[in-house]
Amino acid sequence: MSAADPASLVPYVTGGAFVLAFVFGAVGNKTDFCTMGAVSDWVNMGDTSRMRMWLLAIAVALLGSSALQLAGVVDLSKSIYPGARLTWLSHLVGGFLFGVGMTLGSGCGSKTLIRIGAGNLKSLIVFVFLGIAAYMTLRGLFGAFRVGVLEQASITLAPGQDLGSLAAAATGVDRGTWIAIFAVLIGGAIIAFAYSSRDFRARFDYTLGGVVTGLVVVGGWVVSGVLGYVVEHPETLQEAFVATNTGRMESFTFVSPMAYTLEYLMLWTDTTKIVTYGIASAMGVIAGSAAYALATRTFRWEGFRDAEDTANHVIGGTLMGFGGITALGCTIGQAITGISTLAMGSFITFAAILAGAAATMKYQDRRSGA
């Protein structure tokens, strides 16, 4: 879509992001969609149902996003994920620390927003520390370490780091064909795995949570890549994706939006600051979760239990802020949105998050009851 005044598109972008995030927040609350809980259920009691729900979301997002790409609706290479530079150490370290942080902090970025909507004041503190740490990693003290140390370990994959581009360069077969092949193979295998469980099939909430979350990410690409797309911005004379913090096409991710939400509140009188896609999505999740909690009378205030509980959440939020920015995303931003572009870095981050969360749970298991 193009328009003489890109600013006129902003309400469509932020409104679309808010509505989709609202749906995700409500459904996430209802279905208990929780990526940390998925790891916990698996590691602590051998129950893989919520892991299958998360994987189903990945499969739906991958299949839907690939279909959009093949139909020419959006170009996923215009997002931040499939760039040529693979900062592998950042994905490993950032993902691992994010996994540690989400275990200490009662859930990942999206779960933090869902918990806030349901009345958890601990998650509100996580939001603040996560947002500050994320901002410090974008532009502050932690950012110097990220850029000066971690990002120095990188390799350049000239065609782009997504599996479609890499396979196309290696074989000569066009990228679109490979995207279709990978989407069907990976997505199909995940769906077959998810529904191979009787427990998973028996409870509709698992399907609901997985499918809706995946579709929200697909819809997110449309909002940014179609509603917010300007072929030629009148000021820069270049294409633009309006109301994004990255300047690129975006879908859902929840770490940097918390930083930008704090920035927006603190720099309120700076008229160049606007409610962006990310900020709207963070607010949408809180609103959707709150609406569900209030409608079902499950809203309840929760506070810290003791000093250790407080420390865990402060550290957890800080680690998620640093890790989420360093790894370019979270359990939604990389593990669903990023993987929907087939980017190598997204797969690395996903694995690192699982490792960080599982290791922390093993540690907690050893000292539980102490």
Partner: protein, 75 residues
Amino acid sequence: MNFDKELDARGLNCPLPILRAKKALAGMQSGQVLKVVATDPGAVKDFQAFAKQTGNALLQHSEANREFTLYVQRK
């Protein structure tokens, strides 16, 4: 309901209530009952899954004053 041991998991969120319940049950005899008091909104679902996976029976659960009370019998 009678119980043999009580676990106060109030104020704790996933995964800590489950981890502490595992630890408490590990020190109990077969047939003994653990009473768990929790405030995490996901506690009931978590303990239902825990019971199903581990074979420890979730005998009863109730909610009052924004607290969940659950009784888990060691297998």
